[in-house]
């Protein structure tokens, strides 16, 4: 009964939501342009026709109101999904997300469940400039109380979405626009793929080795997984055998998978599309640094991310700040050429 077909990530996400809505009458969706439009990035395509406007609810441009409504409805027994069209729009509603959705369970001493899924589009690469191109997953992962899911492909997206809807906690489900398989935006072919028709879940906190290798580990996520796989192909031609680790979720984070891979290869490159400073790359590097008693590094760690500037509009500027396949290849080669010091300290 394992029937599969090839789906885009957008189709996989809307299929997951539809199947959970069939199974559980308390699941419903709110957001801007999620009805007839099917979501600007296709995450709710076809759902209005199946479930009607009472469960697929177009909202006013009032993120504070409808995200707060999701929190309140969850407290009252529903399992809402709310879509924040671009993650960049978090600025108009962060109080409801962070001071309420993320904290209320804790402040209630665990006596309150808030099963909300907050879906949102992330990422650049198509010249949409500083207010429509950010990733910001580290911002949400930094804040206690939100689970953070960042899929890289259609198969994972479906299983992680069903897991997210069934989770009793707030989950940020962050999909990169450049892997959704939209007919109007270039995307990486590897992000679409075979997806089983039946419902399935993928547990949170389980990173996946998407390409085994022996020379260095590339820890990455989201669209950067697809870039890293193409970079690894190029590196293989140059004689470097890279292992690519897809984190899949940031909260919870699979620290053991990072350590296991780095222990095997002895070299670490972290490839990220979020900002460099105080973010994911530093977090992963710190995990390795804290475990140097059991993990031996052959080369210093390298971090690739947006170099602490807003995302610029112009193509040459944007291509410079967002890590590209060639940047990953170059950084990996630099790692291969360096060695950790063997000097002794006084």
């Amino acid at each position: 009964m394992n029937s599969t077909r090839k789906l885009t990530m957008a189709q996989a996400i809307s299929e997951a939501i539809g199947q959970e809505m069939e199974r559980d009458p308390t699941v419903f969706v709110m957001g801007e342009d999620i009805g007839k439009y099917g979501g600007i990035f296709g995450a709710t395509g076809g759902l209005l026709d199946r479930f009607g406007p009472d469960r697929i609810m177009d909202t006013p441009i009032s993120e504070t109101a409808f995200i707060g409504t999701a929190t309140g409805a969850a407290a009252a027994g529903m399992r809402p999904i709310a879509e924040l069209m671009f993650v960049d729009f978090f600025g108009v509603c962060m109080d409801q997300i962070y001071n309420h959705l993320a904290k209320n369970t804790y402040m209630a001493g665990g006596n309150l469940k808030l099963p909300v899924v907050l879906t949102t589009a992330i990422g650049g690469g198509y010249n949409d400039a500083a207010q429509h191109s950010q990733c910001l997953y580290a911002t949400f992962a930094h804040m206690p109380g939100l689970k953070v899911v960042v899929p890289s492909n259609a198969y994972d997206a479906k299983g992680l979405m069903i897991q997210a809807i069934r989770d009793d906690n707030p989950v940020m489900f962050m999909y990169h626009k450049g892997i959704m398989g939209l007919p109007w935006m270039a995307y990486y072919e590897g992000s679409s793929g075979e997806v089983p028709e039946e419902a399935y879940t993928i547990p949170f906190g389980e990173a996946k080795v998407v390409r085994p290798g022996s020379d260095l580990t590339i820890v990455t996520l989201s669209q950067m997984v697809q870039k890293s796989l193409l970079a690894a192909d190029e590196l293989a031609k140059q004689g470097v055998n890279a292992e690519v680790l897809d984190l899949r979720t940031l909260v919870p984070l699979d620290r053991a998978a990072v350590l296991k891979s780095v222990a095997k290869t002895g070299r670490l490159l972290i490839a990220d599309e979020d900002y460099l400073g105080f973010g994911l790359t530093g977090e992963i590097a710190a995990i390795v640094a804290e475990n140097l008693d059991t993990v031996a590094l052959k080369s210093p760690i390298k971090r690739l991310a947006v170099p602490n500037v807003p995302i610029p509009y112009s193509r040459p500027l944007e291509q410079f700040v967002i890590p590209q396949i060639s940047h990953i290849v170059d950084a990996a080669q630099q790692i291969m050429k360096t060695r950790v010091t063997e000097g002794a300290y006084a």
């Binding site: 801007e32 342009d33 009805g35 007839k36 439009y37 600007i40 177009d58 909202t59 006013p60 441009i61 009032s62 504070t64 109101a65 960049d88 729009f89 600025g91 108009v92 690469g125 198509y126 010249n127 949409d128 400039a129 500083a130 207010q131 429509h132 007919p183 109007w184 935006m185 270039a186 995307y187 170099p307 602490n308 500037v309 807003p310 610029p312 509009y313 112009s314 193509r315 040459p316 500027l317 944007e318 291509q319 410079f320 700040v321």
Partner: protein, 335 residues
């Protein structure tokens, strides 16, 4: 306040310029974005071509921009929206640097860093934002600064009817009325917030009716007509310059193109735009000027040619300009 012949002709010429700008951009924007020069299987590629990224055009909404900006000087502040070209052109932002910005060139207003939703011209006190409802707070700030500096400058915040349901809008209306700031709030009602029509998003018919809740005049402009906008805005600008506080004006206007270029517009009735275009405000103003003997055919042709030439020159300038160096991306995070 009646519009003089000079003002009417200025509005007419600016509307021609805006329309030609938006129609030219609609064509240029498609360059490089269609098969077969894009990824196989795509119908359109938003990230390709000389002007990549999102593109929100304001063809049809010209009356709102010219009717308001006809009252303003460079000292007055205008804060626009994600659909900003008509406001920028009416405010006098240089077309060459504005167009170069959209081409991502180093000669652009923001050296290619901002793009079409993020145009900044501090010399003419113009700015805009890609975030819905973000125009009102900084307009309050410009109004507060004018008040503190003892100037009679005013600030205008344009926002769409979709933005009228954002918290920032309500907070700003209250603040401006409480502090009697010289701000004019202009709600452009083009009926559509991307795919969501006004009656599915807003609890009342007129956003202008909300003005009374904040203690300021609410003015309704029922037709997409530059003269009507001019007259309504004139009263509000005079009031603000006198120190009598803010006003909220709502204008019914028409969006001829998609929310963004490439929008399949599955949500919109097929004949809607064709019907709207029958009521084209540019053609109506031209007829009015001719009927009143204020513009003959030769003058009309000269105005139209001038406006079109300015647009052609700006696009040529943008195309001929150089891209920034990639490393320039690291500059200008701080002043």
């Amino acid at each position: 306040m009646k519009a003089s012949k000079e003002t009417l002709l200025w509005m007419y010429e600016k509307m021609q310029e805006i329309r030609h700008y938006e129609e030219t951009m609609a064509q240029v924007y498609l360059e490089g974005k269609l098969p077969p020069n894009i990824q196989k299987g795509l119908a359109f590629d938003i990230g390709s071509g000389p002007v990549p990224g999102e593109m929100h055009l304001a063809a049809g909404q010209e009356p709102v921009a010219v009717g308001v900006c006809a009252h303003l000087t460079d000292h007055d502040t205008v804060v626009g929206t994600h659909r900003p070209h008509h406001f920028a052109i009416a405010k006098g932002v240089p077309l060459d640097a504005m167009t170069a910005e959209m081409f991502g060139k180093v000669t652009g207003l923001g050296k290619g860093k901002g793009g079409h939703m993020h145009l900044f011209d501090p010399q003419r006190n113009f700015s805009c934002s890609g975030i819905i409802g973000a125009s009102l707070p900084p307009a309050c700030g410009a109004g507060l600064a004018a008040k503190k500096l003892g100037k009679d400058w005013v600030a205008v915040a344009f926002f769409g009817e979709g933005a009228a349901n954002q918290g920032s809008v309500h907070e700003s209306l209250n603040l401006a009325a409480l502090w009697q700031l010289p701000v004019i709030f202009i709600c452009e009602d083009n009926k559509w917030a991307i795919s969501v029509p006004k009656d599915k998003a807003t609890s009342i018919e007129w956003v202008a009716d909300r003005a009374s809740a904040y203690g300021m005049p609410g003015i309704k402009v029922e037709h997409n007509d530059p003269v009507a906008v001019y007259e309504a805005a004139g009263t509000a600008v005079e009031r603000a310059r006198r120190g009598d506080g803010p006003s909220l004006i709502e204008v019914k206007t028409d969006r001829y193109l998609g929310h963004f270029q490439g929008d399949p517009e599955v949500y919109r009735p097929k004949d809607e735009v064709a019907n709207l275009r029958k009521n084209d405000p540019i053609l109506r103003l031209a007829a009015q000027l001719r009927d009143a003997g204020q513009m003959n055919e030769a003058e009309d042709a000269a105005i139209t040619a001038r406006a079109r030439q300015r647009v052609e020159d700006a696009f040529a300038y943008a195309r001929a300009s150089a891209y920034p160096e990639p490393r320039d991306a690291l500059q200008h995070v701080f002043a």
